[in-house]
Amino acid sequence: MSLIDNPPQPINKAEGRLSRPSVVARARQDNFARRSFFTFTLLPVLLILIVTIALLVRSWPILQAYPLSDLLFGDVWRPSDGQFGFWPFILGTFWVTTVGVVFAVPACLLTSIYLAEYAHARLRSIAKPVLDLLAAIPPVVYGVWGLVAIVPFVDKVLAPLSDRWLGSVPIFSVNQPTGFGILAAGIVIAVMIAPLIISVMYEIFSTVPNDLRHASLAVGATQWQTIRNIVLPQVAPGILAAIVLGASRALGETIAVLMVVGNIPQVPTSIFDSAYPLPALIANNYGEMMSIPLYDAALLSAALVLLVVILIFNILSILVIQRMRSRKWA
């Protein structure tokens, strides 16, 4: 039998299974999908703008009523008298973040170097899930931990020690012996931001090609010498970016900090002092903010200040990290 006797039957549309939508229809479908998917991708880009603008619009009344410098650097917070000075809160945020970062960075750097350069695959495969779990624990549980373990630890152990040995140094003097304060919040924050910092640093270390390490080891350097003289200089910007990224997380942390920091609006002078960071201010007063004139605008402008600082920190660090990632090694 040849094809000439049995010409191929044209595919019948009614039979369905063999029929396909025409090329034109498929192209049209593709075009439609492209457009509608594209609109979805506008969402994340626009969302950043929308959040910023919404907060700006809502805090506009207070930005009109007072000069920005009075708001940022004023140190009296008495909303019922129309006095809105953010300075104590800004300093509180700054201190808690700084203490947290100071605690977190050495431990994170050493841990990530160890995981990236020394650890066996087995140890890595244990450490990674542990860090993931640490990252998954909700902030409020960190707060519980801080309240139950860290605050008493600061009160009973660190404060007496510091009082005995460092009492004459102003930033270590114990003025308010309750345990609640910057140090306790800093320790909690340090543990909270550690998983993020470690994972970013680890990734940055793994971008360095092994040839560089081998070359250094081949001429007799120890592993630590290789890391210090060859690897670290290559990744220094990335390490810095990881720290800034961690700091930006610390800046915005609310509930966990709120639970251990003491919440007293004052200009702190020692790490044992209570403080009142911006996020805690916003969270603690949302209930009454509609009852006093300009109070809501003041709190939302606090959120705006926080957002702007965090956006700057975030964008800078993410750009550096992306650069490190896509770096071409000649």
Binding site: Q29, L43, V51, L134, V140, V144, I318
Partner: protein, 289 residues
């Protein structure tokens, strides 16, 4: 010449010393997890009871009388599932579009950058934003408002999780489909979605875990109530806030229940986190690498 004897120099001591302090740091960081879990279990377990998880607060609950936190458990599950569902509706198309249409193009770069930036915005700012949104739309603190804000918080996490996983899909697969004449949309729907399945599961559980633990945003948007929400427009309780409010109570019995609530929350979050690890390992078997 005899065998070269290793001469102990200062640098070898430094090497040994650095190695030890690195091991100590690793131990401290991972030990923190153990410490947190231990504290939560020791404090929470004694007052964890069947009543806690099956009853809503009864009269005088906040002075130490009977009842439980079923309102908060259910409220949190509603909030987190709603938020995760809504976030998924948006994140799946974005992830597909990033992979199939954008790739490493400039717009793709901007979208990824803005997702990463969104990821870094703290939940208190989302909460404040939610508050402005609620004023603008004239809605009160409600389940719906909470779900919307949680969806915004989860969106970048879920999209990036999917994106990272489908980025690893072999290009050959895509090329093969294109060479057979498929449109990009067909590649997206028939090839990429299948490869993406483990990514979607991971993303869902990751987003859910983040959503259920979030307190600061829910504080503004979902409120708190002793009742189980019956409609989207009603306020709802949530577990993180149940922990937070009960710990602030002067009554020791109520504080004890706060610890128990923290334990319940921790168990849910750890189960979700471990579950996602297990599931994605299983599902990964069915993808082409």
């Amino acid at each position: 010449m005899g065998l070269m004897k290793k001469k102990w120099e200062r640098r070898h001591l430094v090497e040994a010393f650095m190695k030890i302090i690195m091991q100590v740091s690793l131990f401290i960081v991972t030990g923190a997890l153990g410490l947190i879990l231990w504290i939560v279990i020791v404090r929470g377990l004694p007052s964890l009871s069947w009543d806690m998880v099956t009853k809503i607060p009864e009269g005088g609950y906040y002075m130490g009388k009977g009842g439980g936190i079923l309102n908060a458990i259910l409220g949190s599950l509603y909030l987190a599932s709603g938020g995760t569902f809504l976030a998924m509706v948006f994140s799946v198309p974005i992830a597909l579009y990033l992979k199939t249409y954008l790739g490493d193009s400039k717009w793709g770069h901007y979208v990824r950058l803005s997702l990463d930036v969104l990821w870094g915005i703290p939940s208190i700012v989302y909460g404040a934003f939610g508050f402005t949104l609620m004023i603008a739309l004239g809605i009160r603190a409600s389940l719906l408002a909470g779900i919307i804000i949680l969806a915004l918080i989860e969106l970048p996490i879920m999209t990036r999780a999917m994106d990272e996983i489908i980025r690893r899909m072999p290009v050959d697969l895509e090329h093969a489909a294109l060479a057979l004449g498929s449109t990009k949309f067909e590649v997206a729907m028939r090839v990429v979605t299948r490869q993406m399945l483990p990514g979607i599961t991971t993303a869902i559980l990751l987003g859910f875990g983040r959503g259920i633990g979030d307190a600061a945003s829910v504080l503004f948007t979902a409120g708190y109530t002793d009742r189980i929400p019956t409609s989207l427009m009603r306020p709802t309780a949530s577990l993180p806030l149940a922990v937070f409010f009960q710990l602030g109570s002067p009554y020791p019995e109520v504080q004890q229940r706060g610890y128990a609530a923290a334990l319940i929350l921790t168990i849910i979050v750890l189960a979700v986190s471990l579950g996602s690890r297990w599931l994605s390992a299983r599902l990964n078997k069915y993808t082409i690498k």
